[in-house]
Amino acid sequence: MNTVAKKVMDGDVRAVARLIRDIDDGIPEVREVLRELYPHTGKAYVIGITGAPGVGKSTLVDQMVNHLRKRNKTVGVLAVDPTSPFSGGAILGDRVRMQRHSMDDGVFIRSLATRGHFGGLTQSTRGAIDVLDAMGKDYIIVETVGVGQDEVDVVKSAHTTVIVVIPGMGDDIQAIKAGIFEVGDVFLINKADREGSDKTVSDLRLMMDMDHKKHDEGGWRPPILKAQAVFDEGVKELLEEIDNHGKYLVETCGGLNFWKRRDKVREELTEMVKVRLVEDVLNMLMESGELDRAVEFVIEGKLDPYTACDNLLFSRRGR
């Protein structure tokens, strides 16, 4: 067995940390390691936490880790923060709320930056989940900023997705209705002491009631919970609902192993192919100088961008 893979299996924190960096950096050699780790994955329970900035996701994750540790479960946390579109840099601040767990060797916390459009967020997150899984973590919590399409992609990797909202964000609930709303397995209204939390509950319930198809066939009806994560209120109840959802998945999907579920495998493979395809083709076009030449042609008015794009892709396909 590859020495890195073995170290990961033995729970070597430095090896795990380095491997996740290499996955994030897209180093080709990691594929071999991931291949070796693959047979040892599929045991961890993956929880996705998403919601708008400032709703209290990191604080919630911190409390969840605390509860899971009391149950003697080990936990891996992947905290995703956005990359600046201008500088390519990022400030990863989710750890601030979770630092009390840094000395606990049953907890591994890693911050990840989104790194732009085709940086392979999904692929690196998936890879990082598999690494923490192979390392033997019982639970893996993926925390991500929930505005847009990418973040919905991240929660595809989770067994249970928790959507965190706060009272008085009615308009935002409208906005997430079409995307994030549909992927929520549990809804948590955090900062529930604030005005309007009852209205938020009824808004969410109303929207859920409109989603007949899903629930009439004995499907999972997402529970709506209230919490004040900072005071550890409602966190225990959240974990109970996550347990319930896990049981539901076992009953309806025949188990929790991600890689045995046709829908998940299809989604994941599609995503991997997409990422690799885009990376490979773009790299080739950049290295060969074709992209630069096409840019010049368009600027000089010799080509329109649509034809330029066709040329770039067709010249590839022919080879």
Binding site: R14, R21, G89, I91, R95, V96, S102, M103
Partner: protein, 127 residues
């Protein structure tokens, strides 16, 4: 990673530095206030960072900075560069550098200079 060791509760400087690093294209993990050197080193290892920037304004830098470097050495992670900043008297700097702190930035250091120093002196680590 930008970290605030010890009991000092002022992190404006640390946050400004973190922001300057971000604008220079770095990924910056910020740990928050009141960290022990043990917590900082553990976090740095989990995050696999290339550099730790310690900020101290409360006078305990001699112990906190030195202890951080020591712990990294114990864990075999002394390839992570440590630098420090804050209210550090000039006479303390030689001993801190002797202990393994690579550079100290005192009040008045320009952000551009700090960023330039990092770009010149910190390289992604290889194992």
């Amino acid at each position: 990673m930008v970290a605030k060791p010890g009991l000092d509760g002022h992190d404006r400087g640390a946050r400004i530095i973190a922001r300057a690093y971000r604008d220079a294209g770095f990924e910056v993990v910020y740990t928050g206030l009141h960290q022990t050197p043990e917590e900082i080193v553990e976090a740095a290892i989990q995050e696999d960072v290339d550099m730790i920037g310690l900020s101290s304004l409360a006078g305990a830098h001699n112990y906190l900075f030195t202890r951080t470097v020591e712990l990294l050495r114990e864990k075999g992670a002394d390839d992570i560069v440590v630098c420090g900043g804050g209210i550090i008297p000039d006479e303390d700097i030689p001993a801190l550098k002797e202990a393994g702190v690579k550079e100290i930035f005192t009040p008045g250091s320009a952000l551009e200079e700090i960023v330039k120093w990092v770009k010149q002196n910190v390289r992604p680590r290889k194992d």
